[in-house]
Assembly symmetry: C2
Homo-oligomer: 172 residues x 2
DNA sequence: TTCTTGAAATATGTAACAGAATTCAAAAAG
DNA sequence: CTTTTTGAATTCTGTTACATATTTCAAGAA
C-alpha cells in the first residue's frame, strides 16, 4: 500500500516559500514591541500608497495598484537620521517661503548651508529660520516678509548655524 | 574556603535589568530586516528631537535634552494608517492654502468632509484638490486662486470624494 | 479524469541552552 | 579598619534545536 515514500525530487514545501521570500532568524525583542514590529515587517504598515493629482490615470482605488507606488514618510523625509531634527516655526517672517506659524520643519545638520538655502540659526539662544544669502563675502539672513529686515550673520558665540531646512510640514 | 555558596537574597544580576526594562521573547524576522528593526527598537532611530523656534530656552544642543521632546513623523502625521494615502499636488490652484506644485499631501479617508475642509476628489478619473464649501444644500469645490473658478460638486459616477487633506509637505 | 490520501520537505513559533554580564558578600590584602 | 580580590548566584542574550503546522508531489481510489 504505502509505496509513496522515498526521496523524491520537488516533494514537500518549496525552499524559500516563506512569507518573506528570504531566510529568517529569531531575534529577541521586548514583548510590548513585538506586535508593532511584526506589523511593521509583515504588512509594511508605514508604506502608504501615493497617487498623482491632475493626471488622468483611469479610476484609482486604494484597493487597486498604486499609480505612483508607495512611500514611507520617515525614509522619504529623513535621509540622515543621526543629523536630522525637527523645529516648530513661529511667526510669519518666512511666509514667502511657504513657512507658516506653527509649521514643522525638517532640518538636516549634515547639509552645507549654501547661498539661497533656508537655514536654522540660533541667535542669542533663540532658534530662528531665515534664507541665507552670501554677497561679496558677507552673509545675510533674509526673512521672506517685507515687514522684517535682513540681518547680517557672523558665526560667533551668540550666533550659530544649526542646519538646513529640507521640508516644511503644514497642518490644515 | 568556599563559603560563598548557597541561596542568597539579592545576589546575581537584578531581575528586569535588561536593556529594555521589560521581558523579551524571540521573534523570527527576515535576515535583511534584522539590523533595521534592532535600530528601530533599540535606538529609536525614527524618533528625532523637536525644538521650538523663537523661544529663548537657553542654548539648545542636539546632544542635550530636547526642549519639545521627540517626534516620529509616521506616528504624528498618519493617525489611521489603513485609511491614509499620499497625493502629489499639481498646479497652483490651491496656492492660497499653502499647497504648491509638487507638494506631498497626507490624505485621511476616515475623516468626514465638513464645510471648509480641503479635500481630494476624483473628477473624470483625475484626482484634484479643492476646499469644500456647503451652502444652502449645495456643495462647492473652491480653488484658493482667483484664476480658477469654483465648481459644483455632486457625488456621482464621474465625481467621487476620496478624503480630507490633513497635512501638506513642501520641499525646499 | 478527478478526488483522496500518505509521505516528504520546509516554515514557524518557542523552549532550551551556553556563554556573557552583573551583583553580593566572603576572604584576602594593605 | 578599609580597600581590593575572588567565587558563587542569578539574570541577560544570542542562537540552536525541536515539535508542530503547512505545503507539495504523486500514488491509489473513485
Amino acid at each position: 500500500m504505502t509505496n509513496q515514500g522515498g526521496r523524491r525530487e520537488g516533494a514537500g514545501r518549496p525552499k524559500g516559500s516563506n512569507q518573506y521570500g528570504e531566510p529568517t532568524r529569531p531575534v529577541r525583542l521586548p514583548v510590548s514591541q513585538v506586535e508593532r514590529v511584526l506589523r511593521f515587517v509583515r504588512e509594511r504598515e508605514h508604506e502608504l500608497p501615493l497617487y498623482a493629482c491632475g493626471v488622468s490615470a483611469g479610476f484609482p482605488s486604494p484597493a487597486d495598484d498604486y499609480s505612483e507606488g508607495t512611500l514611507d514618510l520617515n525614509t522619504h523625509l529623513v535621509r540622515q537620521p543621526a543629523a536630522t531634527f525637527f523645529a516648530r516655526a513661529r511667526g510669519d517672517s518666512m511666509i514667502g517661503a511657504g513657512i507658516h506659524d506653527g509649521d514643522l520643519l525638517v532640518v538636516d545638520r549634515s547639509l552645507t548651508a549654501e547661498d539661497g538655502k533656508v537655514v536654522v540659526v540660533s541667535i542669542n539662544g533663540e532658534l530662528t529660520v531665515k534664507r541665507m544669502r552670501r554677497e561679496k563675502g558677507v552673509t545675510w539672513l533674509v526673512p521672506e516678509n517685507s515687514d522684517y529686515p535682513p540681518i547680517q550673520f557672523q558665526e560667533q558665540d551668540e550666533a550659530h548655524l544649526w542646519g538646513v531646512v529640507t521640508n516644511v510640514i503644514h497642518s490644515l
